[in-house]
């Protein structure tokens, strides 16, 4: 049963989410706030990458604006929650979360609709232009975003009347939201939608002849993927407590793209691995000083040369070899039986 397609494997993914969540809940209890920050950051970027993985990995659409969506969520959250919050301490963050998701979902629809009408690869150009535009807005519209000086004093959310100022409490909050978002994604991908997304990536012509509405599914994949960027932004802002335009630049969108590819596009757990590679590893590589980008780039290059399917691809290769060996053993066994 666990052989073959992504869909039969997804239940192993569910188990991984739940076990991973349980471990993460207790594991970092001893960590200092820096350690907690790094893990929280990893989760947040995993969510953003998970959205892009839907767009790119499952539906095969190239979006170059995921960091811009992250930025929209982060700035929206900063604006909604700062200075006591526009809906009070308790409700401002939930409101910001919903607004971040909705804004980026709608942005996805507005960008995707005309782009996908023309030709699928136009989406890459349209999102690139959008990412550039958003960066300029983040940087130049000082009255709204604080411009290059950024936006500071973004508060942590308040839960049950208590502000999550404690780093462990906030980390656990990020963990809960990340798990919920992962479960929602898991559910969607194992539903008939996931099958349709994969079909439209593998063979849109045949998918259409089987009644798969290409435009609806394509648009949905892109809009939901973008929304995950926005939702990650709603966690990003209170995590870093200070935002400026730099992490939402076009280059940051490329790093997110790389994250998805490095992790293994089209694999459910790929974004988590990719984000560890792109956002945790640099922290570890700090000792190399200015060389870290060079080391990172070299590692990406080598990894993709060894395994174009990313980190998960290496795991898959071993599993496939195993599977073939099993099948060979079975054939040998049945041959022996026939011979007897």
């Amino acid at each position: 049963m666990s052989r073959a397609s992504i869909f039969s494997r997804i239940d192993a993914n569910l188990a991984t989410i739940l076990i991973g969540a349980a471990i993460l809940w207790f594991a970092p209890a001893g960590l200092k706030s820096y350690g907690l920050y790094v893990i929280s950051f990893w989760l947040v970027m995993s969510i953003a990458a998970m959205g892009l993985n839907l767009t790119l990995g499952y539906a095969g659409l190239k979006s170059l604006a995921q960091a811009a969506f992250l930025g929209i969520g982060a700035y929206a959250t900063a604006l909604i929650t700062a200075k006591g919050g526009i809906a009070g301490a308790t409700w401002s963050w939930p409101l910001a979360f919903v607004v971040s998701g909705t804004l980026t979902f709608l942005a996805g629809v507005v960008l995707g609709f005309p782009a996908l009408r023309v030709k699928f690869h136009y989406l890459a150009f349209v999102t690139l232009a959008f990412a550039t535009l958003m960066f300029l807005i983040f940087r130049n519209e000082q009255w709204l975003t604080g411009g290059v000086y950024g936006f500071s004093n973004i508060p942590r959310p308040t839960l049950f009347g208590a502000k999550l100022n404690n780093d462990l409490a906030f980390f656990r909050f990020v963990l809960i939201v990340s798990v919920l978002l992962s479960l929602a994604m898991w559910w969607m991908l194992r539903s008939p939608w996931g099958r349709a997304f994969q079909a439209l990536r593998e063979n849109p012509l045949r998918a259409a002849s089987l009644g798969v509405n290409l435009r609806n599914y394509t648009l949905l994949a892109f809009a939901i993927g973008s929304a995950y960027g926005g939702l990650a932004g709603a966690l990003y802002a209170p995590l870093v407590e200070f935002i400026d335009p730099a992490p939402f630049a076009v280059s940051a969108s490329f790093v997110l793209l790389l994250t998805v590819v490095v992790g293994g596009q089209g694999y459910f757990l790929g974004p988590f691995l990719g984000a560890a590679f792109s956002y945790v590893l640099p922290e570890v590589l700090r000792f190399t000083g200015g060389l870290y980008l060079l080391v990172y780039a070299a590692m990406v290059l080598i990894l993709l040369l060894i395994s174009p399917q990313g980190i998960i691809g290496i795991v898959e290769k071993f599993r496939e070899r195993r599977r073939q060996k099993d099948a060979q053993d079975q054939r040998d066994a049945s041959k022996a039986m026939l011979g007897a």
Partner: protein, 259 residues
Amino acid sequence: MNVHATPMPVTPPATVLKVEGLKKHFGGIKAVDGVSFHVNEGEILGIIGPNGCGKSTLFNCILGQLQPTEGAVELDGEAITGLFPAELNRRGVSRTFQLLQVFPNLTVRENLILAGQEHQGSMMSRLFGPKDAGLSAEAEKMIGFFNLGHLAETKAGGLSYGQQKLLDAAMAFMAGPRLVLLDEPAGGVNLTMLASLKDRLEAINREQGATFVVIEHNMDFVMSLCTRVIVMAEGKVLATGTPAEIRANPAVIEAYLGH
């Protein structure tokens, strides 16, 4: 098929598909050059003709993969010219392509479920409903019907060519279509499987009343399966008739069967 010897006061069979003056030109190439024909309910219509005479292009124009240069297509008397393929499929028309088109990374069962799922409920009910869209039993039936039983959990890409061809055809039937257009279903299929494919198609035609249009080069296959045959040559219809009539038609023998 029985032909009534005496004229009887029955209503003539309903026309499912009607193609009128269809043309498709690629620059100077007149791939389809004014083709008209109709398909009756319950019929198995064969289309034969030499390589490059426009058979596949004709299918693509009927089914919305290509926009015809000229002409009209009607389904049950309703104009469907230029409708999207997905829309046509949801109206009960399905097809296979000349080049094998299964989803290699999905299992046989997943391929079949995919082929039927868009006909089940709404977008929303598919998201929140069961992951097999309630089609596991139907898929199982189809797997048994096409003798793919032991392969249900195998990735389609791992099947033999002939098995993939069977799966490809099976997928066209998952949604219980009224009209199925098959482009060279027998191409590259060995004799044993060919017999079983023919047997399956006849059974579906009989039991579900599905209407077929089949493009094929394999003469024995066409002549024994089809109730009526259209011969095409250079983008035009050369002749139409029962298999026996076609076999005896001098123009057809000259143009096609002769060699």
